[in-house]
């Protein structure tokens, strides 16, 4: 009869943590004790960065809109002021997308912004 080894539950519990630490450096990916700390910290970072992600992306969109509006002779600040005065409420996510993928549409937007500023 096959020999029965003990510690099945414990092993499964540990494996759950160690598997989640896959890709970590050094002992953190192999040993339960180190992996547990790694996984806790990673989850904390994940929580924090889900919030940061929103700010980071907004910053990126602003950079893109700035670059695109400067091609039309306006700074970001003037452009945003202009479209706000023109009553356009397209958000920065979509504006950045338009700036990259639909340069003609963005040009029309820039003209509207310019007109609203005068």
């Amino acid at each position: 009869m096959a020999r029965v080894k003990r510690g099945v539950t414990k092993h499964a519990r540990h494996k759950k943590v160690v598997d989640r630490a896959k890709g970590a450096r050094g002992r953190q990916k192999n040993t339960f004790r180190a992996a547990k700390q790694r996984v806790d910290k990673n989850l904390q970072y994940a929580y924090r960065d889900r919030r940061r992600k929103k700010r980071i992306f907004r910053g990126l969109w602003i950079q893109r809109i700035n670059a695109a509006s400067r091609e039309h002779g306006m700074t970001y600040s003037q452009f945003v002021n202009g479209i706000k005065k023109a009553g356009i409420e397209i958000d920065r996510k979509v504006l950045a997308d338009l700036a990259v993928r639909e340069p003609l549409t963005f040009k029309a937007l820039a003209e509207q912004a310019q007109a609203a500023l005068l």
């Binding site: 994940a46 023109a86 009553g87 356009i88 397209i90 997308d97 639909e102 549409t105 029309a108």
Partner: protein, 156 residues
């Protein structure tokens, strides 16, 4: 041809045949949805910007699936205080296939001609939001309190 619609607090740039993953809408799978909050409509030659909404424009879609996103583990911990909280979260999402973009009540997709023509006379369910468009006031009859039947168009 694309349009920018607003739903669930976010804006989406959509093209016909797109499948967009949006915040949950109260609608059955297969039912039709009309997005009234259209911020702009554009194509390669011209674009119309709404101030803030494009008058008379709407985007029609069909609910493909009501589902939930991948699980997110919400983990909070304070060191040396023995405080740990682990909670799973799955956001409710609706997958919507964009069928056509309507500007000034003129259809742009001939393939959808029949489907949307059929929907037109159907009593429309009042939206929760009070964005008063001319079209809405005319069609906003008694159906406000009724549950959306599968044939009805749900406005968003």
């Amino acid at each position: 041809m694309f349009a920018v619609i607003k739903t669930g607090g976010k804006q989406y740039k959509v093209v016909e045949e797109d499948v967009v993953r949006i915040e949950k809408l109260d609608a059955k799978t297969g039912s039709k949805i009309a997005f009234e909050n259209v911020l702009m409509v554009g194509d390669s030659t011209s674009s119309t910007f709404g101030t803030p909404l494009v008058e008379g424009a709407s985007v029609a879609g069909t609910v493909m699936e009501q589902g939930r996103d991948d699980k997110i583990l919400v983990f909070k911990r304070k060191r040396r205080q023995g405080y740990r909280r682990l909670k799973g979260h799955r956001q409710h999402v609706t997958l919507v296939k964009i069928t056509n973009i309507i500007t000034n009540n003129k259809k742009t997709s001939p393939s959808e001609e029949k489907a949307s023509a059929k929907d037109k006379p159907v009593g429309k369910v009042a939206a929760k939001k009070k964005k008063a468009t001319t079209k809405k006031t005319s069609s906003n009859k008694k159906s406000a309190a009724k549950k959306p039947a599968s044939g009805d168009v749900i406005k968003e």
